[in-house]
Amino acid sequence: MDNRLKKFALILIGSLLILMMILSFGGRDRITFIESKLGSLLMPVQRFFTSIGNFVDEKTEPIINVLNYKDLNENLALENEALKEQIVNLTMSQKELAELTELKRALKYVDSDAQIGYVSCNVISKDVGNWFNMFTIDAGVNQGINKNSTVINGNGLVGLVYEVGDNWSKVISIVDQKSSVGFEMLRVTDDYDGVLSGTTNYELIGELFDPKASVKVGDYIVTSGLGMYPKGILIGKIYEVVVDKDLILNKIKVTPVVDFRKIDKVMVIPYVEKEVDQEGGE
């Protein structure tokens, strides 16, 4: 009887756990009071240890990478040359843009891309397991963050807020599988669109919507504004274009501009649901 009761209890607990997994998959809109408070309690301790870890990492990195500095210098010199050329082109574009902005103001055109405020915060803990790349940040509902807010850092797109507590939030990075991002090319002409997904190995694989799209290695890609992410955030650089005649859509492999192994500070753009404006501005 005792054994039968044990087996029954095991099956019951197992079923409850499976139900809990199904219900919580995809991130909950609201987490419980206990979870939120526990997170707020642990946050200062985690922040302290993370800062020690970052300090040690910062101090030991130059020693570990001392042999790579020659290559790094050469690459930076080449990049510097290319950037100088870009500055000249961009200055010309900037002048044109200033004229157009002036014209827009003169015509009283309604600005639909008003920039939203950022919330700056620290990464306080990272995933313990080796399957996903989730981490927590020290800002939550009290700082104005909501579910599906966009997380960026100085380099580009980092990820999306998955669950939110009072003073902390859980973030899922774009390099996680099943984390889809709508992208477009960072070009003046030939504006190809597509969708990217993570691979867990700190790289992204994307599919271009246009089967005849011509892209090349070294092109940069940005968010297209389709889906959760705002338009125009830098995602990464194409390092391989997979042309397979059996595939209808061309595939690209992308190196993210963000170094996911070393993220310590991020900025969060709160999620605002897009309203479909049927009439449009005149």
């Binding site: 756990l17 809990m20 997994m21 995933d127 989730m134 899922i172 691979t199 190995n201 700190y202 192994r261």
Partner: protein, 165 residues
């Protein structure tokens, strides 16, 4: 060991694993101290201690860093359940025992995790994960062996693998 020390151990383990121990990632993988400690508690302490540690650690990982609730909670509980069966037939004083337990515990963790992710259609191709898993197994076995040997000596008063004791 008193329950409050086990709870404290689970808390300290979670805090350090999610912060400072991130420095020790090799090939993108870090050792899973929760598996290591849960196995050692199951083999050398009581089953209650092992279950309490496994459930608290699993719940913390699910709440703060998991994609859904209950996954780690269930897997760590399952590992303890299976290890408790295994240590009944294994000789705890053999130096091969911790090596075997750590390896099997880590394999079970990834196998069950893969199965759960498969059923929710959120799995990652094994070809992308094998290097990370292999590295984690190696690290868990190595670290687990030394911690097991140290705890074994403290509990039994003689060295692990010392058959003349």
């Amino acid at each position: 060991m008193k329950y409050r020390y086990i709870i404290l151990l689970a808390l300290v383990n979670f805090i350090l694993s999610s912060t400072l121990f991130q420095l020790f990632r090799i090939n993108g993988a870090m050792p899973n101290f929760t598996i290591v400690i849960a196995i050692i508690l199951a083999a050398l302490s009581t089953s209650q201690n092992a279950y309490i540690f496994a459930f608290i650690s699993g719940a913390m990982q699910d709440i703060f860093l998991g994609r859904m609730l209950g996954v780690n909670f269930m897997i760590y509980g399952l590992i303890v359940y299976l290890v408790l069966y295994l240590v009944e037939v294994l000789f705890k004083g053999n130096f091969m025992t911790p090596l075997f337990l750590m390896a099997i515990g880590t394999i079970i963790y990834h196998f069950v995790f893969y199965l759960i992710m498969f059923f929710i259609q959120s799995t990652i191709p094994f070809s992308l994960m094998y290097l990370k898993i292999a590295t984690e197994i190696a690290m868990n076995v190595l670290i687990g062996y030394f911690i097991y040997a140290w705890v074994f000596k403290r509990v039994h008063g003689y060295k692990l693998g010392d058959f003349n004791a």
